[in-house]
């Protein structure tokens, strides 16, 4: 198999379409063959649809597993003794959570990949870091929640780290001000989840009489817009309001999921999400899962070169998105760029019982 460390040496947004497709096809074909050999469930799935991994001509051919499958099946391509950690999605109480099994290699590759992608936006040096969340999120380290994993993952970009919120999710203004004083004039990294930033940071800052100055800051946030759409806050408004309240103007949303941790899609200066060379997005038509044209909304499929410990290198998400273009974003980054339209609408399925039971 192509050594992932060699891939890591390539600049994340440097390959054009042809080169990237070759690299992805080579590596993803090898991963498909490997998972076919090592995961009995994955083999059965491919056999059921008469798919022969040896026949892969392009990574577009590789079957995609719906992310919901990880909530019901233990999909794993390593021996149980090699499990290094189990990542879980942040499901609300009572809901099934995804379980993603990692060995040391995949976990380490996730971290390294994240560093490569993010530092191409923030610079190689570690920065003073303000985490806009509560320290309690990462206290239970046995079961990694998506939020906790995100914070831990991004923590490596911080030299001096503090949390902006206390255990009760209240803003800790004193700590923030001391921190800002200490690092006056320096570039500062801020990280958090979109809704938490809005709810527990922005709204609290609004109430204050005096302003804090974060004009040296660079904010990276993710986790989705579902809750903010409910509050009718658009991405543009989110940015503008933060700029107004604390001078933050370098703000990058990112798209990613626990099933493919590490391969995140960062938003560029032009508001586009970018696929790095480590992964790709494909949009598909629901009627026959054929590939959408650029500009045509479809179900987002994500492929990633990382997953070795579980067959998660090609997944069908529950999100709808649009590929906007490839290799020609004004920001200069190569690869596809796209936007997310939101979760697929939950159809009201008819029938006698199921939905009633859920709603009762």
């Amino acid at each position: 198999m192509i050594n992932y460390d060699d891939i890591l040496n390539i600049e994340p947004f440097s390959l054009d379409k042809e080169k990237k497709e070759q690299l992805l096809t080579d590596r993803l074909k090898q991963l498909t063959i490997m998972h076919y050999q090592k995961s009995i469930e994955y083999k059965r799935i491919l056999d059921a649809i008469d798919f022969n991994p040896d026949g892969i001509k392009s990574y577009y051919d590789i079957p995609f597993l719906p992310v919901s499958l990880y909530k019901e099946l233990d999909l794993i391509s390593i021996d149980k003794s090699e499990i290094f950690k189990v990542m879980t999605s942040s499901g609300t109480t009572g809901q099934a959570v995804s379980k993603i099994y990692l060995d040391k290699v995949t976990a380490s590759n996730q971290q390294k990949t994240l560093v490569k992608i993010v530092s191409s936006f923030t610079g190689a040096a570690r920065l003073p870091m303000l985490i806009i969340d509560s320290p309690s999120v990462i206290k239970d380290r046995n079961m990694f929640s998506a939020r906790g994993a995100g914070i831990l993952g991004f923590s490596i970009f911080g030299s001096d780290k503090i949390y902006a919120l206390n255990d009760n999710m209240e803003i800790d203004l004193k700590a923030i001000e001391t921190f800002l004083e200490k690092h006056q004039g320096k570039k500062i990294l801020l990280f958090g989840f979109t809704f938490m930033i809005w709810q527990h940071f922005y709204k609290e800052l609004l109430k204050l009489k005096h302003r804090i100055d974060l004009s040296n800051g660079i904010l990276i946030h993710g986790g989705g817009w579902k809750k903010l759409i409910n509050e009718a806050v658009s991405p543009d408004e989110f940015k503008n309001r933060l700029t107004d309240i604390c001078g933050l103007h370098r703000i990058h949303d990112y798209y990613g999921m626990v099933e493919q941790t590490g391969c995140i899609y960062m938003e560029c200066e032009y508001g586009h999400l970018h696929a790095s060379i480590f992964s790709d997005v494909i949009t598909r038509r629901h009627m026959d899962f054929s590939i959408c044209s650029f500009g045509e909304p479809g179900i987002i499929q994500v492929v990633s070169m990382l997953p070795e410990s579980y067959p998660g290198h090609s997944l069908l998400t529950e999100d709808e998105g649009v590929i906007l273009g490839e290799d020609d974003c004004l920001c200069g980054r190569k690869g596809k760029y796209f936007k997310i339209n939101g979760r697929l609408k939950n159809a009201e399925i008819r029938g006698c019982s199921d939905t009633y039971a859920v709603k009762f």
Binding site: R44, I45, I49, E72, A347, I349, R350, G351, C352, D354
Partner: protein, 409 residues
């Protein structure tokens, strides 16, 4: 008769206190009459006439809704008389008293069948109707209101249709007052409602989570001159309810010699119809892919590839009790080639409700049932009729279950 329920008569409940209670039919005053009124004889002429008048009204107002029309058709006088003629002991059968119905939220017209059965059996009815706003429900309730305020004023105490939020104390109150409780809506709902105790003599009818299967004889299909109708019938059994009703077949069993040709033609015709009539939402397509991979990861199955995602067919080479754990909906069919009808036996456990058939003779089916006497399958119906309501449903005779028979020596 009125004095028989003395304890109830003394109780005047003030439902004004329950701000979450909304009357669609009835009122705070009427519901107190509901709690005390004498039951009626089963199939009373007054009720038959009321249902017939209701039928006339809704067949006009609801003509655009096939489910309203089928309810209207079902409760015509002639249809009800036909049902009535099946009972030979009506001279000493009267309603149990108060029937409390909990209707499902996602089958709009179901409440109407439940209420009509309760009324025909002779009861005063309290029906919790879907909280969601359905035009079909509004049409029926409006018609009921017009009749109860006009020529059928006498029946006013016998009908209260209410809405209230889940988790309300009202479930507890109605449960403690009723003589029969009818729960539609599956295992989780039943478990939730059963936390509210009934009176010692009250009985309960529960419609639990069930699933259904279809058996088709390939040779009979091929020689059939009406394949378009068969496609429509099968569509109505499945896609019409997103293949998610308890009556919708999830497993299709093929009998006969020429299965390959029959299947090809059957699914092609169905595909044409589905293409024309069915809206498959993106989440449904993803969910079918999930169901496919889930069953594939556990069992030896093959996807039978189609041109798109509208029909998902999975071929299995074994029927066993675990198979139904992998059922899907929105056009997700598990197919099996059988040599003999008896091969369906492992599927016929207590959770199996309806056997839909085409091209089988009654004798064949009868022989199977009486030879093996499976724990499940309460309904055996020709293709296209799986959703047709009947007073015997899910193995319950609703009239007999909701009435009592007086022995008079």
């Amino acid at each position: 008769m009125q004095k028989s329920g003395g304890a109830v008569i003394l109780m005047q409940l003030n439902f004004d206190n329950y701000t979450d209670l909304e009357f669609i039919v009835g009122s705070n005053n009427i519901i107190n009459d509901t709690l005390t009124v004498a039951p009626m004889c089963s199939f009373s002429e007054e009720v038959v006439q009321f249902l017939n008048d209701l039928s006339k009204k809704i067949m006009v107002k609801g003509k655009d809704f096939s489910d309203v029309v089928s309810f209207g058709f079902w409760c015509r006088q002639s249809a009800i008389y036909k049902e009535k003629s099946k009972y030979d002991d009506l001279s000493n059968r009267i309603g149990r008293g108060i029937a409390f119905h909990i209707a499902p939220s996602n089958v709009p017209v179901n409440f109407a069948f439940s209420f009509a059965a309760g009324l025909l059996a002779g009861n005063a009815n309290i029906i919790r109707i879907p909280s969601k706003d359905y035009t079909q429900v509004n049409i029926i309730c409006e018609a009921v209101n017009e009749l109860l305020k006009g020529e059928h004023k006498n029946l006013q105490p016998y009908v209260c249709m209410v809405k209230y939020p889940s988790g309300s104390k009202l479930t507890e109150i109605f449960s403690s007052l009723c003589d029969s409780r009818i729960i539609w809506g599956g295992d989780a709902t039943i478990a939730e409602i059963r936390k509210s105790p009934l009176k010692p003599r009250a009985n309960e009818i529960t419609f639990a989570d069930r699933h259904s299967i279809a058996v088709i004889n390939a040779d009979a299909y091929i020689s059939s001159g009406n394949k378009d109708k068969i496609a429509v019938d099968f569509y109505n059994d499945t896609y019409f309810s997103d293949q998610n009703a308890c009556t919708s077949p999830r497993v299709i069993i093929w009998l006969g010699e020429n299965k390959a040709d029959a299947k090809k033609e059957f699914w092609q015709r169905l595909h044409n119809l589905v293409m024309e009539k069915y809206q498959l939402a993106p989440v449904q397509a993803v969910s079918k892919l999930h169901s496919l991979y889930k069953i594939a990861s556990h069992r030896d199955v093959k996807l039978i590839k189609g041109e798109d995602q509208l029909i998902t067919r999975i071929k299995v080479n074994q029927l066993d009790q675990e198979l139904m754990a992998f059922k899907g909906n929105s056009g997700f069919f598990i197919e099996y080639d059988a040599n003999d009808l008896s091969e369906i036996l492992p599927l016929c456990d207590e959770r199996c409700q309806t056997l839909t058939y085409f091209g089988l003779n009654k004798e064949e089916i009868n022989t199977f049932f009486f030879e093996y006497r499976p724990r499940g399958i309460d309904r055996i119906v020709p293709i296209g009729q799986s959703m047709d309501f009947s007073l015997v449903w899910d193995g319950y005779d609703l009239i007999r279950s909701l009435s009592r028979k007086i022995s008079f020596l």
